[in-house]
Symmetry: C2
Subunit: 317 residues, 2 copies
């Protein structure tokens, strides 16, 4: 349920490169041309364009983009143009290096829990290639305390992906989670073990069991202190497994709401989900806010940045 | 530096299957024939034989083997015939399920530290396929205390594999290791973080720095209590990175030495290293014990089991 729109007849890669080169040259940059090409090509097509562009002009496409545009628009075009695994590696590296528990753990949770196990491993491979270190190495070196204890195994996991569920285990681990939460032992080894190693299917069974047994969703019990960043990280993990569309809807909602816009989060969610499930997220947004997401984005952003996001949201130009 | 010997003219796969089938049939089993084929085929050839055998006879080769032979000989043939990643998954599963800190952690340390990062990931994939769970999930569910804290990240790591070394970091992390060891804080988060996330090249630089700075190898400081299983696990990690041949030599030496033989360890090391570096290990053994490893193995084992191990050690039949 992507929002990305790709023309039915995509021009040859050489033509795309040629057009992009023209957009960068001469007085001023043709931003509309950049958007009309890159925001309407899928990951494989963008990869082919990057390769052909470097071969033809002896310069990286991303380098040319960075030289010509700037600010939020630049960040959106760069992040979008990157391969999904490379993009996640870049996002993870940013938050690992400038560690801040709240925003940092949110990005890492999304990468660890809202992508599949194979995709998470591809991110770790891209991280090696780009940064000459491992993702877990950087997170372990910068994050601290309970956040480190939780996030290092979270991003190191290679979870089983099958549908098999052990109902007895769901029962016993729902009980463990409940007991630890009752005692406010949120950073307990057992909570971390369960959340970081069990398969998605098994975890969903455990959370359902929790709901059945204790009369309300586990996330309600994890809201004891709404301002606690660690609790909010635990809730984000659970939501990324159970209802990623509603999780992402909320991140976008908070990015737009109130004074000022959180462009970083807005760009991250739109570029990482446009080819995945952004249609579901826009539906969740409309349902929750009674406003189309496109209108909300248009109201909070402007210029080429706005046009780029709206193109990725699938709005007709 | 493998010991495996493969004939210069390997028979067609169909002939190998045919011969194996004959070895299993009729009164009694032709063990010598099984050894003469399987112990002289490399991983790709064994894989091809398994596939062709299943296609031809509608039964798994490993199943046929299990029906016909038993004991240590069976275990050696089965482990050897498995693909390297699948074999490691089986070994890891055995120790995870019947958890015992000493032997269990040794097997996991070998798989995590004496294989490359890509091979470790292949083991995790094979584990999913075979056991419908993840390796880290089973280790986390069975191991306890400091062992769990150490082994779960150890087997979840995807270490950077490049040669780059940060000398400043080697310096500062050698200091951290030294301080924690001085205070006997062996299970400290920082020791675990360093050992489980840094690349092999970086770790070796750190251990060298430790030696330079404090006048003796880190492993000497980790011998405070020679009977402590956790300390011995830390030393095994360091040795698997720094000198895998000498590490494996010692495991074999201890398996053979004294009253009785530790067949499990002997079989494990010979089957996992015959295609990798068993020649180096036999050289290290000869040097350390003034006896050829083949002679020591022959002295401590017998029958088909002995013949299987000697074949894998490259001894002419």
């Amino acid at each position: 349920m992507a929002t990305l729109t790709v023309p039915s007849a995509v021009p040859p890669v050489a033509d795309d490169c040629d057009q992009l080169r023209k957009a960068f040259q001469g007085w001023g940059t043709n931003e509309a041309l950049i958007i009309s090409i890159l925001a309407h090509r899928d990951a494989a097509q963008r990869r082919a364009i990057r390769r052909a562009y470097a071969d033809t002009y002896g310069e990286e496409l991303l380098r040319s983009i960075t030289d010509e545009i700037s600010g939020d628009f630049e960040r959106a075009v760069i992040l979008w143009t990157l391969d999904p695994a490379e993009r996640d590696a870049v996002l993870a590296n940013e938050v690992a290096r400038k560690w801040h528990p709240g925003s940092g753990s949110r990005v890492l949770v999304e990468i660890a829990c809202a992508r599949g196990p194979a995709q998470l491993f591809a991110v770790r491979q891209a991280y090696h290639e780009r940064f000459k270190r491992s993702l877990e190495e950087d997170v372990a070196a910068h994050a601290t305390g309970d956040f480190r204890k939780l996030l290092v195994p979270l991003i190191s996991a290679y979870r089983y992906e099958g549908p098999e569920v052990n109902t007895k285990l769901a029962h016993s681990e729902a009980k463990i989670l409940h007991e630890k939460i009752q005692h406010k032992a949120y950073g307990d080894d057992e909570i971390i073990r369960i959340l970081t190693t069990r398969s998605k299917a098994q975890l969903i069974a455990t959370f359902n069991r929790y709901n059945d047994e204790y009369g309300h969703p586990i996330n309600k019990d994890l809201k004891a202190d709404p301002k606690d960043e660690f609790l909010s990280t635990l809730r984000a993990i659970i939501r990324c497994f159970c209802c990623p569309d509603r999780y992402f809807e909320k991140v976008i909602r908070l990015a737009i709401a109130g004074m000022g816009t959180d462009e970083n989060s807005l760009t991250r969610i739109i570029t990482t989900r446009a080819e995945v499930d952004l249609k579901l997220i826009t539906e969740a947004y409309q349902k929750r806010n009674s406003v189309p997401l496109e209108r909300a984005v248009a109201g909070d952003t402007s210029g080429d940045y706005e046009r780029m996001l709206l193109a990725l949201l699938g709005q007709e130009q």
